[in-house]
C-alpha cells in the first residue's frame, strides 16, 4: 500500500510526533508498504496530490494533527486515514467538550468548570472563582482545554492561587478547566478496534503527588501492564473506558486516561491519537496482549475511516 505518513506539525508535541512517526515509518517499511513521510506545511496538499496515497497514517499529536484539522482536509481529498474522524477528534481534543459528553451519557468524570480567556477578559468571569471552588472543591487542577502533556497544568490548593494557575493554563489554549483533584491510581486503557487492551497503571516515582512535570519525564513514573487490579474492578474500568471511547465517537484506536479513586473509576480524558513510540502506553498495552509493534501498526492501518 502507498502510505502517506503525516508527522511533525506545529503543535507543542511536535517532538513526540516525530518520534512516533519515525517508529511507525520503520514498521511500515518492514511491512513492505511504500511510505512517504510528510511534515505539515504549505506543500502538504500538493505532496498528497502527487504521491496519491492509498491511505494516510496520522502520527500527529496536539493541535492541527489531532483536532480534526488534518482529518477534515484528508476527508475532502478522499484519502482514507488512520485514527478517528473529524468530529471525534474535536471531541477528544477539547477536554471540556469531552466531559460534557461524559456527563450527558452518565460516564463518571471529576467535577469541573470551564473558563475561556474571553469570559475572564471581557465578561467579568473572574468574580466567579469562589463559585467555581464551591462546585469543584480544593485542591483542584487547572489545565488547558487541549494539550496532551504536563505543560500548563497546575494544582491549586487555595482560591487565591487560581489567577496564576489560569494564566498558565490559558497560555496553552484560549480555554481552561478547573477540575476537581481526585487522588487515586492512574490508569490508561487503550482501545484497538473494538477490543480493550490490558490496562496500564502509571505509578509516580517522585514523592510529590502534585508534581505533574516530573511524572511525564522519563523515570518520573513507573508503568505496570497489566495493572494489578481485582477482576471486578478491572472489568468496570474496561467497561467505562470503552463507553468513553464510544461516547466520543472514536474509531480505530484511542487511549482513555482514568483515575481510580474512592468513588470508583473516573475518566479524565481520551486521546484520539495516542503516542506511538516503543515506550508509549498503547504499544505497551498491545505488547502485553501479544500484539507486536508491527502487527499493531498493520491493525491500525486496517481500521481507517
Amino acid at each position: 500500500m502507498k502510505v502517506a505518513l503525516l508527522q511533525g506539525g506545529r503543535s507543542l508535541e511536535r517532538s513526540v510526533s516525530l518520534r512516533s512517526g519515525g517508529r511507525v515509518a520503520e514498521a511500515l517499511l518492514e511491512l513492505e508498504h511504500e511510505v512517504e513521510a510528510m511534515d505539515l506545511g504549505p506543500d502538504l496538499v500538493s505532496r498528497l496530490g502527487s504521491f496519491a496515497p492509498d491511505v494516510a497514517f496520522i502520527a500527529l499529536h496536539g493541535i492541527e494533527g489531532e483536532d480534526g484539522t488534518v482529518q477534515a482536509l484528508l476527508e475532502l481529498l478522499d484519502i482514507p486515514h488512520t485514527g478517528p474522524g473529524v468530529a471525534a477528534c474535536q471531541r477528544c481534543m477539547d477536554k471540556s467538550l469531552a466531559k460534557y459528553v461524559f456527563r450527558e451519557q452518565g460516564i463518571p468524570t471529576p467535577a469541573w468548570v470551564t473558563y475561556s480567556e474571553a469570559s475572564i477578559r471581557d465578561f467579568g468571569a473572574a468574580s466567579t472563582f469562589s463559585r467555581a471552588v464551591g462546585a469543584v472543591g480544593l485542591p483542584l487542577v487547572a489545565k488547558p482545554a487541549s494539550g496532551g502533556s504536563s505543560l500548563g497544568i497546575k494544582v491549586v490548593t487555595s482560591e487565591d492561587a487560581i489567577p496564576a494557575a489560569l494564566m498558565t493554563a490559558l497560555s496553552y489554549d484560549d480555554r481552561a478547566l478547573l477540575e476537581s483533584w481526585v487522588s487515586g491510581r492512574e490508569l490508561a486503557v487503550s482501545v484497538l478496534g473494538d477490543e480493550v487492551l490490558p490496562i496500564v497503571e502509571a505509578i509516580p516515582t517522585g514523592s510529590n503527588a502534585y508534581d505533574f512535570a516530573a511524572r511525564y519525564e522519563i523515570g518520573g513514573a513507573e508503568f505496570v501492564c497489566p495493572a494489578d487490579l481485582p477482576e471486578e474492578t478491572g472489568a468496570e474500568v474496561e467497561q467505562i473506558a470503552l463507553r468513553a471511547h464510544e461516547a466520543l465517537g472514536c474509531s480505530g484506536f484511542s487511549r482513555v486516561d482514568l483515575i481510580l479513586g474512592e468513588q470508583g473509576p473516573q475518566v479524565l480524558e481520551v486521546n484520539a491519537i495516542p503516542g506511538l513510540t516503543e515506550t508509549s502506553l498503547l504499544p505497551q498495552a498491545a505488547e502485553a496482549a501479544g500484539v507486536g509493534f508491527n502487527e499493531l501498526i498493520e491493525k491500525i492501518l486496517g481500521l481507517t475511516c
Binding site: S15, A126, P163, A164, L166, Y216, T279, E287, F293
Partner: protein
C-alpha cells in the same frame, strides 16, 4: 531490483526499558528530557523566529575563501588531515591560538594550549578532572545554560552567585566563601563568563576582575574564565581578561573559534597551569584522542593568513546593528515593568518580565505566534529565573528580530492584561494608553 532493506534503529520494548533502567549510572538521573525541552522542537520549523539559539551568523563567510582553503588542503595535506593528530592539538593551531589570545592582550606560550573539540569540551574536561561527586563549584547566576548539564553530570554541588549590571557580585562571592569556610568547605573552582556573559550579556567590571583574581590567590581557588565572546565588542573599552590579570597561576582560560570563525569546525581550547593541563590532556585522550585534524588544519591556515580580524570586524558591524534592533524593539514592545540588559558585545540580551509572568508559559504562547526564546530557568540549577529569558540577536536578521520581539511583547501584554483582570492589580500603565495592535481584544 529489490530495494535494500530500510535502515532501522534497534527496537526497544517496554520490558527492555526496565532492564536498561537498572544499568544506568547514578549520574544519569540528572540527565532528563523534559516537556519544556520537547516543546523547543517547533523552533526547527522555518516560520519560527528563533531567538533561542546561540548561533553565530555564518552566512557572510566568503565561500571562495572556504573553497580556497579546502583546495589547498586537497593539494597539500590530504594524508595529514585524514590521520589522527596529537591530543594537545596540531602545532599550527596552538600557535595561532596564542596569536588570537595576544590580540586580547594575553601572553601565552603555544605549548601551554590544549586544543579541544569546541569550547563545550573544554568545560567538560575541566569539570571532569577537577570535580568529584559532591564537590562545590561556584558559577554566575544566571550561568551559561549549556554548562549546567556538564556540571550536573559530574555531580557537582553548584552554587550560583547573583550577577548585576557589572557581572558577578563579588561581595556575595566573598560572603559565600566565608560561609563555606565556616562549614569547613571550599569550592573546587569558580566558573564565570566575565565578558559579555551568556546569558546575561553583562561584563564584569575592572574593579571586580581585580578583586576576583585577588580572591583566587588569597584562597588558592581556581577561576575558570570562559571567554567565547571577548573579541565581539561593539562599543566601550576593552577590559583585561582575568587570565591576563592573573598571569595564569589561578586562572584557567577557555577559548573557542566558534564565535569568531565557525561553530561547525568545533575548535576550542584550554590554557591551564601545567599540572592541570597534563590531566586535561589525559582526560581528552580518554574522551576522543584528538580534535579533528581536518578542521584544525583549516582553522590553523585561516588564522595564519592574518585576515581573520577583518572577518571579525564584519561580524561586529552586523551584530551591533542586530543588538540595536533588539534593544530598540524591546523599548517599543515590551510591557511596562520589563527590564533588560544592553550588552556591549557578545550574542545575548537577558530580559526580565514583571514578576507575574512565568517565561515558560510565555514561551508556549510565543510559540503559537511562531517566536522562541530560552526561558530563564534554563540558566539556574535551583529554579530561579522564572520571569526572565535569554534572547539571541546574532543569528537572526534585524527585521525578524524586531518582529520577534513585537510578538513576545504582545504575548506578555496579553498575559498581564488577563492577570490584571483576574486580580485587579494594576500592572499596565492604563488601559486607555494602550494601542490596540491585536484586534482580538477590542
Amino acid at each position: 531490483m529489490a530495494a535494500p532493506p530500510p535502515p532501522r534503529r534497534s527496537q526497544i520494548r517496554s520490558r527492555d526499558l526496565e532492564r536498561y533502567a537498572g544499568l544506568f549510572a547514578k549520574r544519569t538521573r540528572v540527565m532528563r528530557s523534559s516537556a519544556m525541552r520537547d516543546m523547543m522542537a517547533i523552533t526547527a520549523r522555518p516560520e519560527v523566529i528563533s531567538l533561542a539559539g546561540g548561533l553565530p551568523d555564518t552566512s557572510t563567510f566568503p565561500p571562495e575563501a572556504f573553497a580556497a582553503e579546502m583546495d589547498r588542503i586537497t593539494k597539500t595535506a590530504v594524508a595529514e588531515v585524514l590521520q589522527y593528530g596529537p591530543t594537545e592539538g596540531i602545532d599550527l593551531v596552538r600557535e595561532q591560538i596564542a596569536g588570537v589570545m595576544a590580540a586580547e592582550g594575553m601572553r601565552v606560550d603555544a605549548n601551554d594550549v590544549t586544543v579541544t573539540t569546541g569550547g563545550q569540551q573544554a568545560i567538560d574536561l575541566i569539570t571532569k578532572v577537577l570535580i568529584d561527586p559532591g564537590d562545590i563549584l561556584i558559577c554566575d547566576a544566571p550561568t551559561y545554560p549549556g554548562a549546567i548539564p556538564t556540571f550536573c553530570s559530574y555531580e557537582a554541588d553548584v552554587i550560583q552567585i547573583e550577577c548585576d549590571e557589572n557581572g558577578m557580585r563579588i561581595d556575595l562571592l566573598e560572603q559565600t566563601l566565608a560561609d563555606l569556610a565556616a562549614r569547613g568547605r571550599r569550592p573546587k573552582f569558580i566558573y564565570s563568563v566575565p565578558t559579555f556573559q551568556n546569558p546575561g550579556g553583562v561584563t564584569l567590571s575592572l574593579e571586580r576582575r581585580r578583586r576576583l583574581v585577588e580572591i583566587a590567590r588569597e584562597n588558592e581557588i581556581l577561576v575558570v574564565e570562559d571567554n567565547p565572546y571577548g573579541l565581539l565588542r561593539y562599543e566601550g573599552e576593552t577590559l583585561p581578561t582575568l587570565y591576563s590579570l592573573d598571569g595564569g597561576s589561578y586562572v584557567v582560560y577557555l577559548g573557542t573559534f566558534s564565535k569568531i570563525l565557525s561553530a561547525g569546525l568545533r575548535i576550542g581550547w584550554v590554557v591551564a597551569p601545567t599540572p592541570i593541563r597534563e590531566k586535561v590532556v589525559l582526560g581528552k585522550q580518554a574522551a576522543d584522542l584528538c580534535t579533528s585534524t581536518l578542521t584544525q588544519n583549516f582553522a590553523g591556515e585561516y588564522f595564519r593568513k592574518g585576515r581573520w580580524q577583518e572577518y571579525v570586524d564584519d561580524l561586529i558591524g552586523i551584530y551591533r546593528s542586530r543588538r540595536d534592533a533588539m534593544v530598540g524593539a524591546m523599548a517599543e514592545y515590551f510591557p511596562h515593568g520589563a527590564t533588560w540588559t544592553r550588552p556591549e558585545g557578545g550574542l545575548f540580551v537577558w530580559a526580565t518580565m514583571p514578576e507575574v509572568i512565568n517565561t515558560e508559559d510565555l514561551l508556549a504562547k510565543a510559540l503559537t505566534k511562531s517566536v522562541a526564546f530560552v526561558p530563564g530557568t534554563a540558566a539556574y540549577v535551583d529554579g530561579r529565573g522564572v520571569n526572565s529569558m535569554r534572547l539571541n540577536f546574532s543569528g537572526v536578521t534585524e527585521d525578524r528580530i524586531i518582529e520577534g520581539i513585537r510578538r513576545i511583547g504582545e504575548a506578555a501584554s496579553e498575559q498581564m492584561f488577563l492577570y490584571e483582570t483576574m486580580t485587579s492589580e494594576l500592572l499596565l500603565p492604563r488601559i486607555d494608553d494602550r494601542d490596540e495592535p491585536d484586534g482580538d481584544r477590542s
